[in-house]
């Protein structure tokens, strides 16, 4: 397994390098962390879109795209993501390694990634008003088009209802109702307030020299003055007291069921790995109870799965079904949850689930994106283990551990995206 090399660039600003010769590309990203809040959500989301429009060297999207094409089609992006109580602005690049092109694109790509956040296009000392307005339209389209993917829509609605008044209900791409109050001046003020005061992590995966990158970064940042305060990470572990039911009636052909459960276990809990194994027995993979019973035996659906939100101690179960099968499917899923809770699973099911997770940990080694995601979670808590230790830990999980982990798992919210009267 590859180890991550950590270098401190300055206070609360770190570089993580995962060296691997097998990749044809160098994959890098910069995370600028903000606390997840309703007040800032739209500012951060719109900011990420505006930053993607230009840098001090390449003042438009068009110029940026021309430049990226010259770098053998370097892929770049600026976006937002949320994990636990953090909302991060992420700029990323993926560039073909110099050894396959004979050109010097790697360093230029890294510089582009940094410029996108730290050296934006500021025509009159603030962001371009035109860019801000265009990107409000694009962001509004992103927000509205959630309904285009009904499966995601049902999941988002379920979390929204389940986590009302919790930071986790805040949507990372923001709210249209805030647009009127945002302009190029106050967006720039927000940018100035956060860019040199927020923690930064930079990740690089590929066949690279970490010392050389570190030197490059130190020299790049030498002209900036940072004064970064850390953000205290808050993970969720709330329990559920009663089950609530929510239904939306929309013009759809298939019903989408989303069950939100609370586990009381996040990545800081020693039972986290046992929960992961239990979740896999329940609904993660073709060996799972949901796949074999709800899909294969009962023919109720094409897909039924469960997954964990490891930062917030949540479990989400999803399935697409005929409208009239709502009760039947919900009951069938609940029966499988009960089966895991009361230990109605074989040693073979347990072993297969463990092997499945260990194998997926091994396969992280083939994906720069998954590796970075895993190492980000390690920065959230000292309790989480390296991939190798995590695999070790999974291999030791017993049936009793799974039962303990599932003890407090309880159904919090049942969301159903139903058809409209007359269509059902």
């Amino acid at each position: 397994m590859n180890n991550v090399i950590k270098h401190k660039i300055s206070d609360n600003m770190n570089l993580y390098v995962i060296k691997d010769v097998k990749y044809k590309t160098v994959h890098c990203c910069t995370h600028l962390y903000r606390p997840l809040s309703r007040e800032e959500a739209t500012f951060n989301a719109l900011l990420s879109k505006v930053l993607k429009c230009g840098t001090n060297k390449y003042s438009s999207m068009n110029e940026l795209n021309v430049y990226a094409e010259e770098l053998y089609g370097c892929i770049y992006d600026v976006s937002v993501s949320k994990k636990a109580n953090l909302h991060s602005i992420v700029s990323s690049v993926n560039v073909i390694a110099d050894k396959y092109t004979g050109e010097c694109s790697q360093e230029k790509a890294i510089e582009l990634m940094l410029d996108l956040i730290f050296k934006p296009y500021l025509p009159d000392g603030v962001f371009s008003g035109g860019y801000v307005e265009t990107q409000k339209i694009n962001l509004a389209d992103d927000i509205d088009s959630l309904i285009n993917d009904k499966r995601s829509y049902a999941n988002v609605r379920c979390i929204e209802e389940m986590c009302k008044n919790e930071p986790n209900s805040i949507v990372e791409i923001g709210y249209k109702e805030d647009f009127d109050t945002i302009n190029e001046t106050n967006l720039f003020e927000h940018y100035q307030k956060i860019v040199f005061t927020s923690p930064v992590d930079i990740f690089v995966v590929g066949d690279v020299d970490d010392e050389k990158i570190l030197m490059f970064l130190r020299s790049y940042f030498s002209s900036f003055k940072f004064d970064i305060s850390p953000i205290i990470i808050e993970l969720g572990n709330k329990l559920s007291d009663e089950t609530k039911y929510v239904e939306d009636n929309l013009n759809v052909n298939q019903g989408k069921l989303a069950l939100g459960l609370r586990t009381g276990i996040n990545i800081e809990n020693p039972l986290y790995y046992a929960l992961l194994v239990g979740n896999s027995i329940l609904g993660s993979g073709a060996h799972s109870k949901l796949f074999n019973n709800v899909r294969e035996k009962l023919s109720l659906c094409y897909y039924a799965y469960s997954r964990l939100d490891k930062y917030n101690g949540l479990m989400l179960i999803g399935s697409g079904i005929e409208f009239e099968n709502f009760e039947k499917t919900k009951n069938a899923i609940c029966e499988e949850i009960e089966n895991v809770k009361c230990g109605k699973f074989t040693d073979e099911e347990l072993e297969i689930a463990k092997e499945y997770i260990i194998s997926s940990y091994r396969s992280y080694e083939d994906s720069p994106g998954l590796l970075i995601d895993y190492y980000i979670s390690l920065t959230y808590t000292p309790y989480l283990k390296s991939l190798e230790e995590a695999s070790e830990c999974i291999s030791r999980i017993t049936k009793d551990d799974v039962l303990k982990a599932f003890e407090k798992v309880s159904l919090d919210t049942v969301y159903f995206l139903n058809g409209k009267e007359g269509q059902k």
Partner: protein
């Protein structure tokens, strides 16, 4: 088994290939240092193969829409009542399958027990077990898969575009069929299809990962039986050059109208020429409407298109088309603007420096495919099933010039080859 080794210096990749005595073609791409090994076993049997002469018969038959996809689902059924996923799960492997217009592919990726998983893949795909009971059960599952796509506006706008472009070509039929058509499927239909198309000479297997090629060939030798198979005779309808209809519109629950502007390419190719056309068309579309183009800039800035705008190329042996699509409040206006931009290129030609830059970026995206065992395995399998040697890419790529762009522009991107598909937002 004798094998051939082809090394591509510029990519740092080697492909080993061999042909089994049954005619099955095997490709191995060793990927040192990768944890995962990926194997894909595919047959040239897709949703377009609905009319053929069954093996051992002289009379042709037409099968219900969605059969290839249904058969894919049913291959997982094992004679002992278990399903083919079980054994993969035991080895910690991830297994799956997919059906396209032209192919059905069975696959797995694993990080351990490759030999066992690979043997299982070859075995279960070679041992069908269809019963009327397990067919009925699958109709419920696939029925829900079809419903899922019914609610997918992007899927609908793409299929409607194909329906507008093609008069007879079965590419216009939904891959999974309809709830109605799959209710007509029984085990005789499935065996007829299976016996005809799941013929090793009609199939390809590709493996990518940290494996020894010799070991892969040995397992194939040990597992694939030396049986005599007949010749596959698929029947395709005559397709006129003209499009079926210029405009098609439906409604779906989406936020903003979705559109696809399609162009039918009537000049079908084979072998290296097919690969050449695919590469050239992809470069051409980026040149016209890619992220650095004047067309994209103008319409993005005016708000007519947004970040979802994209282009697509589908080049197969039996059909070929290209498209421009995304979200847009006024798709008819956008199509007019596109046709004007195309006319302008016809007058002024393409800028050579721009062409070279986009060609270079496209080469980057080809190299990127080799970053991942799944994408390289699928690339080889898909192309080899069409008898295209994708490893000829670097040579073919170098023969594409700015003149190729002008030729294709005039041949493919014309008003008479075009159709517009729109999905309007339905009321909530």
């Amino acid at each position: 088994m004798n094998f051939v080794k082809k090394h591509i210096e510029s990519l740092g990749e080697t492909v080993y290939s061999a042909v089994h005595s049954t005619g099955l073609r095997i490709f191995v791409i060793p990927k040192k240092g990768f944890s995962k090994t990926y194997a894909v076993y595919g047959t040239k049997f897709g949703s377009i193969n609905n009319h053929f002469v069954p093996l051992g018969s002289e009379k042709d038959i037409t099968v219900p829409d969605g059969v290839a996809h249904f058969l894919e689902h049913k291959m997982f059924e094992q004679p002992d009542g278990s399903n083919a996923f079980d054994l993969f799960s035991k080895y910690g492997a991830n297994a799956n399958a997919f059906t396209s217009f032209t192919n059905t592919c069975y696959l797995f990726s694993c990080t351990k027990y490759f030999d066992e998983c690979f043997e299982h893949l070859l075995s279960y795909v070679n041992e069908p077990h269809f019963t009327d009971e397990n067919i009925e059960k699958e109709q419920g599952i696939i029925g829900q898969e079809i419903r899922m796509y019914d609610d997918d506006g992007e899927w609908c706008v793409m299929f409607n575009m194909l329906r507008a472009l093609y008069v007879n070509n079965p590419v216009k039929i939904d891959i999974a069929g309809t709830v109605e058509s799959i209710s007509q499927i029984n085990k005789d239909v499935l065996y007829n299809c299976y016996n005809t198309y799941y013929n090793p000479a009609n199939m390809v297997v590709a493996v990518a990962g940290d494996v020894e090629p010799e070991r892969v060939f040995e397992i194939v030798d040990k597992t694939i039986k030396n049986t005599e198979y007949g010749k596959v005779t698929s029947i395709y309808p005559e397709e006129p050059d003209a499009v079926c209809q210029k405009y098609i519109e439906t409604k779906s629950l989406v936020a903003k109208p979705l559109f696809q502007i399609g162009f039918k390419d009537n000049n079908l190719k084979t072998g290296s020429e097919l690969l050449r056309r695919e590469i050239a068309l992809k470069i051409l579309l980026r040149l016209i409407a890619g992220r650095s183009s004047a067309f994209f800039k103008e319409n993005y800035e005016s708000g007519l298109i947004n970040d979802t705008f994209d282009t697509d190329v589908m080049t197969e042996l039996s059909f070929s088309c290209v498209s421009f699509g995304g979200e847009c409040d006024n798709p008819k206006e956008l199509k007019e603007k596109l046709m004007k931009a195309l006319d302008k290129f016809r007058e002024t030609g393409f800028d050579k420096a721009e062409f070279e830059r986009i060609k270079k970026a496209f080469y980057g995206s080809f190299i990127r495919t080799f970053n991942n065992v799944e994408s390289v395995g699928n690339l080889i399998c898909r192309n080899m099933l069409s008898d295209v040697d994708v490893m000829e890419f670097p040579e073919i790529y170098s023969t594409i010039t700015v003149d190729t762009m002008t030729e294709l522009l005039n041949e493919v991107l014309t008003e008479e080859n075009s159709a517009l598909s729109v999905v309007l937002p339905a009321e909530e």
